[in-house]
Symmetry: C2
């Protein structure tokens, strides 16, 4: 629905269409500042016939990235989830969420929760996964690894991953960041942002997890043990976020991989985005919504 | 490069970035009317380790579409090519291109040239393909089928597909169309467009081939046998194209799946695109290129 009330029907199920500007892409991610999206066409995929879920202990984020390369090379698009959890994020869950336990006997520096799905052709999914694991172990990338033997085991592992935000809240809350870089730069991002934050704010704890395949990290910072979380955040959130966002942008990355700009990050967009891109965005906004009626004050 | 000479650096290797409008998507497919694209970031995929190429005789386009569904369900994204050729297109190649021969002994109504690639996990690619073929044969969708046993056999089959445009030229030329619809509507498009064209212009020959997985058909129309191709085209190209394009647009499809609008199809865009979408495109064009310097007279 456009600012003047007219309805543009952009519903199309075409995979290929080279006729004029791709208006749909302009409205996607514009956060309602150009118009309101009221309907969507969904692309469906065949329901997977086979599935394997594995939890791998890895030595560090760089090892997880290399493991992703190996498993993609071998299993291609059968890899549907590849979630990274650093040990501190897991510990937050174990300490703050009921009915959780460490799936491994020993503590490991980090973990990958990996899910593969396939059609009939994936009957050898588990065998391939085992072969990749053997390669990765020989290269010293992985420690122990488990393959889910039941749906309840699978759910328990996913719960460890999905309860991280709740665990952070239960621990007093965190300064949250949603950053992305090119996959190859992900370990550098984690290392540099971690070093910068810890050096400026000694004792802080970093809860790090994310979607490695997308180059996307949730890099959340908790107050030092013993400090009052709320007081710490009020005093240092701006400084901590500036360090994390600056590191991502310096690596050619994004300060908002998933969650958008809104009003909270509007000033950040102004200082990190190129002036030329901002001009283009403002020109388009003025052309489509000259009276600034749509979601005013957001994004730009 | 923008109309005022400024250079916007939109090179980014991020898979996820939700910061402001997606300007890159605006320039893609704008045919240079908003600016000139001078560089691109490429996403790389692992080189396939295994490959299988098959040529399947099918009863009709609808059977090819169902076969695509079956092979996608079983082999997912291992399916990298799925090219449809109707018999008349193959016959044009056999008659007009040297060193070509029909791979089958019998004549079949249509063919699918199918290619699968995979990593290590695809070691069973051929076995899976055979299983899908057995299913498809039991359902009466496929006639004979061949799996390439050598690179030279594979090349010979791809040559049959790739030489269709040259064969049409050698046969005197064709009235070409590059239409797309949602995959489910592809058989209806072919049937309706064929009936409309043959009913208005008895004796014309249709050379039909395309990328079924994209819902994209090259629906090319040749003069009746005995008629002078050039005279026929001069007299009837507009009428033939109108029938084909109208059929595609009535089915919610595109009159230009791959090749854009340019100046040849500018008037067609004006009558088939919604006035609201055209207004939006013109507003954006005026905002980004107010002096109409970039590729004037094209697209809009």
């Amino acid at each position: 629905v456009l600012p003047d009330g007219r309805i543009w029907d952009g519903l199309s199920a075409l995979r290929k269409d080279n006729t004029g500007y791709d208006l749909k892409q302009l409205f996607l991610g514009a956060e309602g500042t150009l118009g309101v999206i009221t309907a969507a066409v969904c692309k469906l995929f065949p329901a997977p016939i086979t599935r394997e879920t594995a939890l791998c202990a890895v030595t560090e984020l760089a090892a997880a990235c290399r493991l992703l390369g190996m498993v993609r090379r071998s299993l291609g698009d059968c890899v549907v989830s590849f979630e990274f959890l650093a040990r501190p994020a897991l510990e937050l869950v174990l300490a703050n969420i009921s009915d959780t336990r460490d799936p491994f006997v020993a503590a490991h520096p980090a973990y990958v929760l990996l899910e593969l799905t396939g059609g009939h052709a994936a009957r050898g999914l588990r065998e391939e996964l085992m072969a990749v694991y053997a390669d990765a172990e020989a290269q010293g990338l992985v420690g122990d690894a488990l393959i889910a033997e039941s749906e309840s085991q699978r759910s328990a592992w996913w719960r460890l991953r999905e309860q991280i935000p709740a665990a952070e809240r239960a621990a007093g809350g965190s300064i949250k960041h949603d950053v992305s870089v090119a996959l190859a730069d992900l370990p550098t991002l984690a290392q540099r942002a971690g070093a910068a934050v810890v050096s400026r704010h000694p004792g802080v704890r970093v809860s790090m997890y994310g979607h490695v395949g997308d180059g996307n990290l949730h890099f959340n910072v908790l107050a030092p043990v013993g400090a009052d979380p709320e007081t710490f955040r009020a005093a240092h959130a701006a400084s901590v976020s500036d360090l994390v966002h600056r590191t991502a942008v310096e690596l050619g990355g994004s300060f908002s991989a998933e969650h958008g700009v809104g009003q909270l990050k509007r000033d950040l967009l102004r200082v990190t985005e190129s002036p030329i891109a901002l001009d283009l965005m403002r020109e388009i906004k003025a052309a489509v919504d000259p009276k600034d009626l749509m979601n005013p004050g957001k994004v730009l």
